[in-house]
Each structure stands twice: as structure tokens, then as C-alpha cells.
């Protein structure tokens, strides 16, 4: 075992302040969320609709500029029940289990990962139809798309 004086703890009081540009595509996506819309872009070459939208279609190296409003509904493909949360790198117990799903949105070729509420974890299975729930007090952040829940 290392003796105490062989280790030095150095508390370095630095605050990292990063200020990220989201870029034009993400800006429009976030604006869409605040209006309770999921926006994707369509590649002019292969026609794929991707969410979240970005300035390039990876398969074709085009710059997609055609915007598509993707219906906020889709099908659960895979899922997991989280019993921990990762915060500042620490793995902490979650207050209660929560569900994360990968959802195939009806109008998009991408899967969207999202929190899923309103389903008993024991009843999770692929194919369940889900719809998006948006915040009523949007802040223009990704949190404006709050979670998905089963379509009645």
C-alpha cells in the first residue's frame, strides 16, 4: 500500500467554461422543439431523413437543406431500464427506475433515443407505438422534447 506521504492531493481551482456554437441546423431543430415540432433534414441525393438534423448526409456528403417536419410518433425498437444516473462522471443510484428507448420515428430514417414514460418496465417490448410529449414552457433547449409515452 502506498504510504500517505507518497500521494499528493492537488486541488486545482479551475473552472472550465466552454461556450458551444450549436450551428444553423441545430438552431432550427431547437426552434422546432420549442414549437412542439420534430424537424429533420432530407438528403437531396439519397432521400434519407435524419434527426437530429445536421449539415451533411454522411452517406452522400451532400449538404441537406430540405427540412421535413417529422410526425412526433413512432415505434419502440429497443430499450433499457436505468437504475443509475451518470452525473459528473459519477454513477449514482436513480431515485426510481426509468426507461430509455430507441424510437423509429414515422417520418425519419434515424432512430431517436429518448426517455419513455407510462410503460411498466415488465411490459416493454418492441413495436409499442409512442408519441412525443413536449414541454409547455419551452426554453429552446433539447429538454423541450421531454419524453415519449404510449399512444392510447
Amino acid at each position: 500500500m502506498a504510504q500517505d506521504h507518497h500521494n499528493v492531493k492537488a486541488f486545482v481551482p479551475l473552472t472550465f467554461g466552454y461556450n458551444y456554437r450549436v450551428g444553423a441546423w441545430m438552431e432550427k431543430y431547437l426552434d422546432g422543439l420549442s414549437e412542439k415540432k420534430i424537424l429533420g433534414v432530407k438528403c437531396p441525393s439519397c432521400g434519407k431523413v435524419t434527426v437530429p438534423p445536421r449539415s451533411v448526409c454522411g452517406a452522400c456528403f451532400t449538404k441537406p437543406e430540405q427540412w421535413v417536419e417529422v410526425p412526433p410518433e413512432g415505434e419502440l425498437r429497443t430499450f433499457t431500464v436505468g437504475r443509475v444516473k451518470v452525473a459528473a462522471g459519477e454513477i449514482k443510484d436513480a431515485d426510481e427506475p426509468y426507461v430509455i428507448g430507441m424510437i423509429k420515428l414515422d417520418g425519419a430514417d434515424s432512430l431517436l433515443s429518448a426517455t419513455v414514460k407510462g410503460i411498466d418496465p415488465d411490459n416493454l417490448k418492441p413495436g409499442i407505438r409512442l408519441k412525443a410529449v413536449f414541454s409547455d414552457e419551452p426554453k429552446g433547449t433539447t429538454a423541450d422534447l421531454s419524453y415519449f409515452e404510449p399512444v392510447e
Binding site: 437504475r83 443509475v84 429538454a143
Partner: protein, 386 residues
Amino acid sequence: MTMSRNVAIVGWKQTKHTACSEVCRERMLYELIKEFYADLGITKDEVDTMVLNSNDFQDGRTISEVYPVSWVGAFNKDQTKVDADGSDAVLYALMRILSGNYDTALIISYAMGGSEFRNQAIMNYTLDPIYERQRGIINELSASALQANAYMLAHGLTENQLAAYAAKNLKNAAKNPFALRQMADATPEAVLESKPYYSPLHELHGYPATDGACVMLLASEEKAGQWTDKPVWIRGTGSCQDTYYFGDRDLVKVDALRKAAQSAYAMAGVSNPAEEIDAAEIHSSFVSQEPIFAEAMGLFPEGSGGKVIDEGLSLIGGKLCVNASGGPQGANPFTTTGLIRVAEAAAQLTGKAGDMQHPDSKKAVAHGQTGICGQHNTVFVLSTEL
């Protein structure tokens, strides 16, 4: 595509991995390299070029090699640093020798993944800052769980079978003198009783936070015989990166790994990996990635994960031994893990794997990944013969 020269792995050495190293990283590297050079009977003047490997974020230092360069003997030498998985450092060292500019290349990799920053903090920095990091939904644990579940849904692998993979590796690690997490009596039950993370994954499906280092020397055919009578030939290699966006990747097929492996096999003249490969060392950060990656590399039939573990096909002594070393479940010093996979595969081929020895190993595959859920993969096919 064939290689212009034949290049061999002529030696390697790793530290006994720990949760918190007794010595600072510089001393850890210094002692490792000094012992390695002494074991091999090589002087630092005979090392033509050096490829260092560390991750600035995990190291907590910008330009993490600023001090280590002196301690690894890179003074006045040609050196560089790969800031990704160690398997890419092996690829770069290989390319330096293939160019004909060098005959020997040293790869040295380390990570203080146990004693420094939390691994999950570093993985969080690996996410893009404007979308995934903001949402806080995808992290290495939840992503790996989604991938595991996708495979289980597609191919019927059960929780017990998945836990059996973890138990296999933890038992293998108990035979590995360098591993950190060793459980000679590991059982699927013990794995399922460990702390649940995101279903189906528990703590013991994952990896321990590890401090460790590994060094390896590559040499051209002309020089390899100076340091070993059992050169391990790098017969093929492939590297491939998928899209970053998590929802646009097939987590079960892992197309990028498929492609990297195909490139390596084509170069090595391997047409039926399931039959021609004897052993594999796979960088499966979570054990759910073991069947997924093995199948993407054509080592076992698609969807056969349950059968493989039930019938012991991937055990030491089985049909195609996977992770005799215990893999990352035994020790995962972050970016060094990929280099260790190459070293452990080489150990199998040279009969130096001690209690982990899989008999009659002549061809092996080693794999390393960078990122989450196999976005970026580098694969090597190694052989005792040319």
C-alpha cells in the same frame, strides 16, 4: 492489398494493472520500459521510432506526453502520439515500418483510468457537446445497454447467458497475472447480483477503472530475429469508423467492425475466419459486445451468442477462444486496452499465455475500439507463419 514488407511483433510487456498505481505514471512507464528492454536484450538506440498512446482527457493533462517522453526514452528520438485506442497506435507503428523508413517501432501506452478522473466523466466528454451531452440520455452505460438489449431482442440471448459471458471472463482474468478484477469462482448469479446499471447490464458486465501501461516492439522481417525466435507476424489489418450519430448506426451489425475485419482478413488471406482463427482478443468494454463484435468479425455465426456460451465454444480449449485474458472485464486501462488485446493475442500465438494458454494457437485476431458501442474499430490478424 498485400503488405510491402513483413512486420512482426517481437516483444511486449504490461504492468500488473491496479485500481490506483503505487507510483506516478512516469515511474510506471520508466520501470516498464527498462524491464522490457532488459528482457528483450535491446537498447534504446535500436528503437528507430516511437508511437506513444494516451488520452489527454483521461490523463487530465493537455499534451499528456510532455513529461512521459523523457521517461520512456524518447529523448532525441522520432516520436509521435496517437490520441485514440492503442490499436490505432499499433497500426501507425506498422505503417512506419511498412514505409521502409524504419525497421523497428515501439508502441507505449498508458492510462491512469483508476486513480484519475472517473471514466464516465471522460466518456461524457466523448459525446458531442451540443446534442447528446445536453440531453443526458446517452452515456457509455445506457448506450451499451441499448446495444445489448437490441442483440438480445434480435437473437434471443438470455440474461443468464449474458451473465455467463461475464463469469467466463472474470474466471479467465483470475488466471491472468496482470488483470485487476479477478474472480476465480465467478458465476452468472454473482454477476446478476452485482449493482444493476441499465438493464440488462450490471457492474460486473462492465470493466474496472484501471491504471496500467503496456509496451510493444514491432520489427521488420530483416531484424525480427535479433530479439525473438517466435515472431508474431501481422498478416492483415483493417480500421473503420462508423457515423457518430447513435440513431443512425446498426448497433447489432456494427458495420464498421464488419468492414475493418473484412479488410484484415482479405490482406491475411483468411477466407473462413470461423474455421481459420484459433483465438481472439476483443475490446468489449461491456461483455454484451463480445458476441456482437465476434459475430461482426465472422468468428461465430450471426445470432449464435447463446449457443456459443452454452456449449463453451469460446472457452480456453474451446473451438475459438475469446478473451482468454479476461478481456476488459479483467482490466481496462482506457486507451491502453486495445494494445493489450494485441499483446494478449501475441501471447497466445507464442505459447506465452501461461494458465490462459489456448492450445495450438496459430492464427489470432486482435480488436480495439474507440468511442462508444464500436463506432471506431481497428482489427489485426496475427499469425505464427508468413
